[in-house]
Each structure stands twice: as C-alpha cells, then as structure tokens.
C-alpha cells in the first residue's frame, strides 16, 4: 500500500513541547522553565488511500501528533506538509482550504457536538461556511450525508442528547464527510463505543474509505482495532515513533522490544485462563523527564548498557519496516 510516488501527508521532524508554567515559588527559587516534549522528533509519510494506524499508550503523544497534523498546535520545531503545503500556514484562506481536504473525528462522540444545536444545524453550519451546496440544497445534502453514515433522515431534527453514543459518532463522521475531504484523522473514534456498535462503525469506516478513496490516520490504543483497519502501523512511545511497518510486519514480526511487549500484554480471546506474569514492569516515564539514551530503557526487558547512554538509530528491517532499537534481532 505504499506504492504511491509522493506522500499526501509528510510529517518532518516535528517537535511539540508544552512548557510547564512556573509558579512564584519556582521563580523565587530560580528554577528553569521545563517543558514536556509530547512529540519529540517524529517523521512519517502517509500515502494516498492508505490507512496509517497510530498506536501507543496514554502519554505516548499520539493524540498530540494527530492534532498537530490539522495545524491545531504550533510546532516547536519541524513541519507538516499536506499536499505539499504546510499545515501551519495560518492565513484564513489557507486554513479554509486545509479544512476542505483534511478533517478530524474526535474521541468523545457527545462532547464533540454542540449540545444546543440539532444534528441538522451542526452539519448545515459546515455546508454554509464552506459554501459546499446552494442554500436551497442544504436539506437534501444533510439527508444524503446522514444516509452515507447509516442514519435515518429524521435524526437531523434531533439534539445530540437524544442520540446514543454510536449515533453521535456517526453524526461526527457525517460532519467530517460534509466537506468531501480526501483525508480523515480519526482520534480514538471507536474507543468510547460498545463492541457491537464499534463493529458497526468500523465496518462503516472501511466502506467509506473504499467508496470515497479516503486516506486515513487512525489513532487508537486498542491494538486489535488498529490491526483490523490499518494498512500500515506506527508505534509511539513517549513522544517518538519506535517502530513502523505494514500491519503484517508489526503484528507478526515486531522487532522493537516495546512493540513486542505491547502485543504480548494484550489479552486474547483464543487463550484459556492462564498463569500471568506481567510483561513489562513500571510505568511510562514522565515527558518532563525523558530518560537518556533509549526512551524505553527503563522498562525494556532486553536493556544493555549502551541503551542507557546512546539514542538508538533507526534500523531498516525491510523496505517497509523500521525499528529504533540497538538490538533489533
């Protein structure tokens, strides 16, 4: 799936740091300002019509990276190019053009809709703002969009509170699709849903991807869902991408110890009750205090002395698989 010549989206050495506000006490004590490097030097290419899965635990920076792709955070360093143009170009025309092609679906289906607007008003606002349909055609377009995501037309007159979580998530998707985007960033778009509803929305996403030729970045913590929907996967840990590869490579032949541990920790349906020993000890370190050398060295089961001082280089495993580890074998 990486055969397209030029990437549609190119993330280049992006760094997003959030400074911690100093208290008066800190100032008096002469403490230096510290910042959390939520995303710390990530480069990724996304090609047309592919779905890139972005996985990692909380605090890995996957949501920050997702929002950065839409230009929602100002980068400390680096750039993100969408169709060759920087997403950080803040002129109104450039922002508007970006929103016409690149849309986001958020995690919480309720809080991402305005509770005081009906579903129809929510979608109509987007259609009017971008001048997508003639004013007379808005009602028909709303019905078309609701049909696209599998909702009945009468949903348009309802408020979000009258909808279930699955229905709200479909409305969020209809709103994103209303500008006829070429690319969607889905941030934990099915995480809040029950499994029977989650399967409905996953199937819908895969149908839409097929019928509209969509490129997707699918951000999720749940590995089974990512495996299901992605062509390629990037695994993040503490602000860095530690391994990328095709879905088959990541799930069948993971080479980074973190990816291996993450996969080993996932409970599986096929296994019987078993004696468990935890795969990884300890917690993900604080982004204010990133360990020297390899970021995973504090928890890595294969740690050597070199890992504690030298940042591991990106090792190319295959044409499509890269792992940042000193010992990838």
């Amino acid at each position: 799936m990486t055969s397209s010549p030029a990437p549609i989206l190119s993330i280049r050495d992006i760094v997003i740091a959030f400074p911690r506000r100093r208290t008066i006490g800190d100032l008096l004590a002469g403490k230096q300002a510290v910042s959390a490097r939520a995303v710390d030097g990530v480069s990724l290419d996304v090609f047309e019509r592919e779905t890139l899965g972005l996985v990692g635990e909380s605090g890995s920076g996957k949501t920050t990276l997702g929002r950065t792709i839409l230009g929602l955070y100002k980068p400390t360093a680096g750039d993100v190019l969408f169709e060759g143009r920087s997403v950080f170009d803040n002129t109104p025309d450039a922002r508007k053009a970006l929103c016409r092609s690149l849309q986001m679906v958020f995690q919480n289906p309720f809080s991402s809709l305005n509770p005081r607007m009906t579903v129809g008003q929510t979608i109509a606002e987007v259609l009017r703002f971008h001048g997508i349909t003639e004013p007379g055609g808005i009602k028909a377009e709303i019905e078309r969009l609701l049909g696209l995501v599998g909702l009945a037309p009468d949903i348009a007159s309802r408020a979000p509170r009258a909808l279930s979580g699955g229905q709200c998530q479909r409305v969020g998707l209809a709103r994103a699709m209303s500008v006829r985007p070429t690319m969607l960033v889905l941030d934990e778009a099915v995480s809040a849903l029950d499994v029977s509803i989650q399967a409905q929305v996953l199937n819908l996403l895969m149908d839409l991807r097929q019928s509209h030729g969509l490129t997707m970045i699918f951000i999720a913590h749940e590995l089974s869902v990512v495996r299901h929907i992605s062509h390629r996967v990037a695994v993040m840990y503490l602000g860095k991408v530690v391994e990328t590869g095709t879905c088959a490579e990541i799930f069948n032949m993971p080479r980074h110890p973190y990816t291996q541990s993450l996969l080993a920790a996932v409970p599986r349906l096929g296994t019987a009750k078993r004696h468990r020993t935890a795969v990884l000890q300890g917690d993900i370190p604080s982004p204010y205090n990133i360990p020297a050398g390899c970021r995973f060295q504090t928890r890595c089961p294969k740690v050597q002395s070199i890992c504690r001082s030298v940042v591991p280089p990106s090792q190319r495993i295959s044409a499509t698989q890269v792992a940042d580890c000193h010992f990838t074998t």
Partner: protein, 356 residues
C-alpha cells in the same frame, strides 16, 4: 467513638460465620447465591429495570466473569450485592442474596456495613475517583481497620506499608505518605487493591478494574489480582466489557444483556461454543489481534430501552435467528448442556449444530 465500637463489636462474631453449606459433598461450594434478583430505578415517573430476575451462584475460590455492554446491568448487580446503590432511585424489587448464611438484602444498615470491606470488598473502575485526593494514600488504605478500632494509629503506617509492598509498590516506606495525584493510574489501582485485601475478605468484587488503564498496566494489574487470589484462595467476581480479559482470567462467565444473564458456563465453553445468539454476535463483532483483518459481523440495531418491559426475549429485535415465539414466551435461564446455561429458546439448535 461510640458508633465505632458498636460497629467493631458487630463485626467480630460475623467474621467467624463462614460455615455456610459446609455439609455439601460437591467440591463446588457456593459462597454467594443470588436468587431471582430484580433491581429497578424509578425517577420522574419512569421505571427502568436494570437487573431482571437474575439468579447466580458463585463458588468458593473461583473467578467468575460478568461481561456485557454498557447498560447491561453488570455494575448494578455488583453494587446491589454490597447494597451500595442509593434508594431512591434504586429499588430492590425482588430477590435474595445469600452470603455466609445470611440474606444480605435483609440486613440492617449497621450489619451490611460490617460485611463491606471485611467479608466482601470492592475494587472500582476509575482508581483516581476511588481515593480521596486530600488524604495520604497510606491513611486511606488502613482507614477501615482504624475506624473499627482494629488497628492502633501508631501501627497504621506500618500496616499500610506492608500492604503496599504486597501489591508491588516499589519502596513503599517512602511512598506511603504520598497523595493520589502523585501516583500513576496503575499505582493507584494497586493501592485500591491493597485497600480491598486489607481485611482479608472472602469475596472481592472487581468492577472493570483495568478499563481505565493502558494495556501494559492492565497486564500488570491482572497478574497481581490472579496472584493474590491464588495465594489467599479468595473468590473473585470480575466485571468487564472486555471479552478477552475475561477469557484469560476467569473460570466461568456470565454474559449479561438488558439486565438478564443470557448465558452462563465455563469460560472455554462460552468462547468455543456459545449457546446464545448475543454471545455469538459479541464474539463475531470483536476485531481479533491474532488474525488477519476480515469483515466484522456486527450486531445490528441498538441496545434496548430498559424502560419498556416486554415479556419475551430482549435480544429478539436484534437477533438474526428470531422466531415468532421469542417475542412473547417467558424467557428463563436453563441448563442446555451439563454446566452450560442459556436463556435462548433455540439454544438446543446452537448446541447441536455449533451454530444456529
């Protein structure tokens, strides 16, 4: 202090009353028996039946999983066992819950208070909400024992340190005085577990204990729970929405839908040969981590509105195998194979054919 002493003296004789069903010859001795439990919520003239005619036996030393989606009644069932739901709006419409020779539902508030924590403990979903943010963690772990006068304040810190070491907190003597916000979610959940095991309960109710946690931390917490359970032969009820978590940790599983138990059997049997269309549907709608992507077979429609009771099967509107009689026959959980219970009228067909 008077109240505290009353509670302490009430607790003493009860803690030795664990001879229930000791005459049974079978190895499977029930420690908890729920009979025909119905719990309703009534508010603003609306009645919602959250738990509907549930009967369930939990055997000594086993891990029983309760799975279901949001609104299936699994948390309400758990909380009713310890009578933690405020009434109103919750009303126990019918049923009995037998534990250690008593019906928990007919105990006075003082008597049930002496069961909570001492004999049945609970681990809640969101560890950060389960602790008080303004008290040190160590104080909260031993609070139950101190309040009952079982532990002198001077010994409490030592006791809290021991418990934290038991649940795998590194250098507990340094961390016992810290506050919840200083700890990560996984560590706080360990502290909550320490609190649950502090008084050596016979039964632990764990309501989605790992749902708020990352997968590697979930792995640690499940390993800890299983290790503690084996070491102390405590009985554990694990409530979860995650079928895979239940598959790996539980001996038996109860699948809940719309307030009812629709299937109950040994874990391996439910997962390899489900005897209820809802369980089958759930299993088919879960993406598998260990298999190539294939189209998910989703369950169509929405979970039912629990406000309107219908006599028939609640799953009928979403069921692929629905027959006319499903909509109006009385549905009961019945044994369709030895040890395998299903609430589906057509369960026999599923047993024979593997699939309906």
């Amino acid at each position: 202090m008077g109240l505290r002493n009353d509670l302490a003296s009430a607790a003493m004789p009860l803690s030795s009353a664990g001879t229930y069903h000791s005459g049974r010859t079978t190895a499977e001795v029930p420690i908890l028996e729920i009979e025909n439990l119905t719990v309703e919520f009534r508010q603003r003239g609306r009645t919602v039946r959250a738990v509907n005619e549930v009967s369930l036996s939990v055997f000594k030393g086993e891990t029983l999983g309760i799975v279901g989606e949001s609104g299936s009644g699994k948390s309400v069932l758990c909380r009713t066992i310890l009578r933690l739901l405020p009434s109103p709006p919750a009303f126990i419409q019918s049923g009995e819950i037998h534990f250690a020779g008593r019906n928990l539902l007919s105990l006075t508030e003082g008597e049930i208070q002496s069961v909570r924590g001492a004999e049945i403990a609970m681990i809640f979903q969101n560890p950060m909400n389960a602790l008080n943010p303004i008290w040190p963690i160590g104080d909260q772990i031993t609070e139950g024992e101190r309040v009952l006068g079982r532990l002198r304040s001077s010994d409490a810190r030592q006791r809290a340190t021991e418990l934290l070491r038991r649940v795998g907190i590194p250098s507990p003597e340094l961390r016992v005085d810290e506050y919840p916000h200083q700890w990560s979610g996984g560590m706080v959940q360990r502290a909550v577990i320490a609190m649950a095991i502090a008084r050596e309960p016979k039964l632990i109710l764990a309501d989605e204990p790992t749902t708020a946690l990352d997968v590697t931390i979930q792995d640690q917490i499940l390993a800890l729970l299983m290790e503690l359970q084996e070491a102390t032969s405590t009985t554990l009820i694990l409530v979860s929405h995650d079928m895979a978590v239940v598959a790996e940790t539980c001996d038996r599983v109860a699948v809940m839908y719309a307030g009812r138990i629709v299937e109950l059997a040994r874990t391996a049997d439910v997962f390899s040969q489900p005897c209820h269309p809802y369980s089958l549907g759930l299993l088919q709608s879960i993406p598998r981590i260990d298999a190539e992507a294939q189209s998910l077979i989703s369950i169509s429609g929405q979970p039912p509105d629990l406000a309107g009771f219908s006599p028939g099967c609640s799953f009928a509107p979403r069921c692929k195998f629905v027959a006319p009689e499903c909509r109006n026959s009385k549905i009961t959980l019945r044994e369709v194979k030895p040890g395998h219970f299903s609430a589906c009228l057509k369960a026999e067909n599923m047993v024979e054919g593997g699939r309906l």
